[in-house]
Amino acid sequence: VCTSRFWFNYRHVANTLSVYRSVKRLGIPDSHIVLMLADDMACNPRNPKPATVFSHKNMELNVYGDDVEVDYRSYEVTVENFLRVLTGRIPPSTPRSKRLLSDDRSNILIYMTGHGGNGFLKFQDSEEITNVELADAFEQMWQKRRYNELLFIIDTCQGASMYERFYSPNIMALASSQVGEDSLSHQPDLGIGVHLMDRYTFYVLEFLEEIHPASQTNMNDLFQVCPKSLCVSTPGHRTDLFQRDPQNVLITDFFGSVRKVEITAEAISLDRDRAGFESKFPEEELATEPLKYAEQLPVAQIIHQKPKQKDWHPPGGFILGLWALIIMVFFKTYGIKHMKHVF
């Protein structure tokens, strides 16, 4: 989730896209990823290289790529939509790609970046999500059995405050800075004119580039990723709610998806003339006279179009009251015997 809008927050979009890219490279398909970007940097008019988002100066790595699917764009990234995705309380007509279709055997990775403070994360410069709300959302997910294990990574200023309030089991959290510290950005690119990435995510990306779907690296290595000498802020982590030892948790448990394939040497024969197989189309009825295309600009028909009959409504309260007042005043003034003159 990238929660920042405006061109100078390019680095937050680059952060999110680099994690998205690593996760796709390690095997998780688009149908299992919900990507929320609060602003469009790639096709922003200020981007000197359209349709690209770079993570490193000298434009080495285009993290936007050619095969990206953003599920929540621009104004759709709001606190309400984020919490609805997490808890599953989504309006019924939401398409599948915008839903988190997880069950109790799913491991979920949540990565959030943007501007934050002590206990809150700012969404699009107009609203905030607090750590209490986030903790409650995770508890709802736990009660509804929507996750097996959850890894929460946050790269904002004072990020550690966001995971202080978690109280649901099986959550591991990482943050780029402690309370009272700011997360800093990495390096600007003079051609694009803005900072391209945040330090913590830059080193996380470097770390993830060495992971492949079968690697055995565990979480302890991820905790060591950005020491204070490189990151200037102190990354923090929280594992007390997690049941397994982080030593035994593989990176690919959350970042990758390895499908178990069993190879069999048996031959299976496909029966061609199965009775239940239907290969015919229903018989079509042909029209009796030729169908035709509509006229694009039927001037005569348009000019003589009858206007829609306005539905007749009985007069409303005000008109009735006004008329009643007028009639009462008239009869009070002139007496009831003048009624025969009216009729």
Partner: protein, 569 residues
């Protein structure tokens, strides 16, 4: 695909292949030196999607087929566009779309609740195309009465089955192109679609991708219905930003790729290059390598010549493995020779300040002696309150009364303004349409996160039957190129064109969003100070306090004062 075999299997195979794919690329150099490339991928399926349970999809994408069947859609047109087609300088577009997202749909007469189906349709499409089409609701949907007649087969056109919405703020980027490419039968791996790389396509002046689904005649007798899916992509490459300032173009220069092979699922795959001579002289443009054939057609009322490269002909890839079509100008172009299109329009906001304003539309008819009617459709959001009594239409200094007006006023937060007019444009004239509006104050929660950017007003739509220079003959749809059969033609003396004007960006009076915080702080402080003080005064009780006996120094001083005869401290 089924394997061929004895018995009922074989007959099923022959009848299964009822869909066909044709793909085509049209390169047309524009008068300003830019070049427009229009891709069209057309899948025609000889089956009736509305009747019978169709479960086997081959070339026609399943996502769209099930959408059409489940929601009772008769016609669907969705366009996502970035940029603006400058008709005045580039000529009439083959198919234009307004900036942002535009969706218009005709539903079948069997659909009972059209609004509900419309809402579901926009949600499903937003998931398929990764666009925020779920923002389409009653505040930006209108029901046009005269424009947007169906482009496919239709019997009866009750306009209550039509819905039209435009989202001018919608951004188009690679995430919209990716699912669009995935709908193509060959994806982006073979055929013309290998040229569609996002980095080059979005570095352009105009990029428009569209999906059109409509029922068409299956053959000339037109007794059966086929469903046609057209995916079109138009991109205009700017010769300034493409470097070197030279006006020569090639496929490699435009797309950074060349054509290497054809899509095996396509029955026809062609590249057309517009080499029409201007002013009936010999050709200005030279194409290399040599085309497989030359095709002449009457397109948009004018005779045009095209160089055709048939990718399925075996002679094309004989010499080299890749095809890189190059266009070179034979002699330098004269900028004074730029032809002016017969119909073009312009729209802008006039006025000053943040209270009122005026929308002005200028429509130009540059034909020397023919007049023709044009339908103007304007959709204005409810927060710009139009005053219809200030609507004026002036042509050549005199007032021009429209033959048909349909105005539906807006309802706050429920419906936008809809203004449709049928105006006769006299020959060689400029028509100016002005209407004044007042800007409304929104509630503070209704402002978007960046309200100082402004609010967009969608493009107006002009539909006209423009008289053609050369009369068009009836041609067989299957034999002619795809770009000639977009609009069904009624008679040859005029051709139908749909133009869009610029979208407008209007500033609404924006409040200071820090005021709620300021007000809360100030109010709480005032309340705390005033009320707190009053409360203390009223409820505090006072005790008399015994004066203390005093310290040692005081007692000694009192003793001395007693001796002096002075009252004690």
């Amino acid at each position: 695909l089924l394997a061929a075999g004895p018995g009922p299997g074989r007959a099923g195979v022959e009848r299964e292949r009822r869909d066909a794919l044709r793909e085509e690329l049209l390169l047309s150099p524009l008068p300003t030196g830019d070049v427009a490339a229009t891709f069209q991928f057309r899948t025609r399926w000889d089956a009736d999607l509305q009747r019978g349970a169709v479960s086997h999809y081959r070339l026609f994408p399943k996502a769209l087929g099930r959408l059409v069947a489940a929601l009772g859609v008769r016609e669907l047109h969705l366009a996502l566009t970035q940029g603006f087609w400058r008709t005045r300088y580039w000529g009439q577009p083959p198919l234009q779309a307004p900036a942002g997202a535009e969706l218009w749909v005709w539903f079948q007469p069997t659909v009972t609740d059209v609004d509900k189906a419309w809402k579901e349709l926009s949600n499903i499409l937003s998931g398929i195309f990764c666009a925020s089409l779920n923002f389409i609701d009653s505040t930006n949907t209108v029901i046009p009465t005269a424009s947007f007649k169906p482009l496919g087969l239709a019997n009866g056109t009750d306009h209550h089955l039509l819905r039209y919405a435009v989202l001018p703020r919608e951004v188009v980027c690679t995430e919209n192109l990716t699912p669009w490419k995935k709908l193509l039968p060959c994806g982006s791996k073979a055929g013309l679609a290998v040229l569609l790389k996002a980095e080059r396509l979005f570095h352009s002046s105009y990029h428009s991708q569209a999906v059109h689904i409509r029922p068409v005649c299956r053959d000339a007798s037109c007794l059966a219905v086929s469903w046609e899916l057209r995916q079109t992509l138009t991109v205009v490459f700017d010769f300034f930003s493409s470097g070197q300032g030279k006006k020569d173009w090639s496929l490699f220069k435009m797309f950074s790729r060349t054509l290497t092979d054809t899509c095996p699922l396509a029955s026809q795959s062609k590249v057309y290059v517009d080499i029409s001579p201007k002013n009936k002289e010999k050709e200005l443009l030279e194409v290399s390598p040599a085309p497989t054939s030359i095709h002449e057609a009457i397109v948009q009322g004018d005779k045009k010549t095209y160089a055709v490269y048939d990718l399925l002909s075996p002679s094309l890839f004989n010499t080299s493995r890749s095809l890189n079509v190059q266009l070179k100008w034979k002699r330098p172009q004269d900028s004074s020779e730029m032809p002016i299109p017969i119909l073009h329009a312009q729209r802008y906001v006039a006025g000053y300040g943040l209270q009122t304003g005026e929308i002005c539309t200028l429509i130009y008819n540059t034909h020397p002696y023919r007049a023709f009617p044009v339908i103007l459709l304007e959709t204005v959001p409810w927060y710009l309150r139009l005053y219809v009594h200030t609507l004026t239409i002036i042509t050549k200094g005199k007032e021009n009364k429209p033959s048909y007006i349909h105005y539906q006023p807006a309802q706050d937060r429920r419906r936008p303004h809809l203004l449709e007019m049928l105006i006769q444009l006299p020959a060689n004239s400029v028509t100016k349409i002005t209407i004044q509006f007042e800007r409304a104050l929104l509630k503070w929660t209704e402002y978007p996160p960046d309200p100082n950017h402004g609010f967009y007003v969608g493009s107006s739509v002009l539909s006209a039957l423009v008289p053609s220079v050369t009369a068009m003959k009836d041609v067989d749809v299957e034999q002619s190129p795809l770009f000639t059969s977009l609009f069904p033609s009624s008679d040859g003396s005029s051709y139908f064109v749909r133009l869009y004007t610029e979208p407008l960006l209007v500033n609404l009076p924006t409040p200071d969003f820090s005021m709620p915080y300021n007000v809360i702080c100030l109010t709480c402080t005032v309340v705390a100070v005033c009320y707190g003080s009053f409360y203390n005064l009223l409820t505090r009780t006072f005790h008399v306090e015994e004066p203390s006996r005093g310290g040692l120094a005081k007692r000694l001083a009192n003793v001395i004062r007693k001796f002096r005869g002075v009252p004690p401290l």
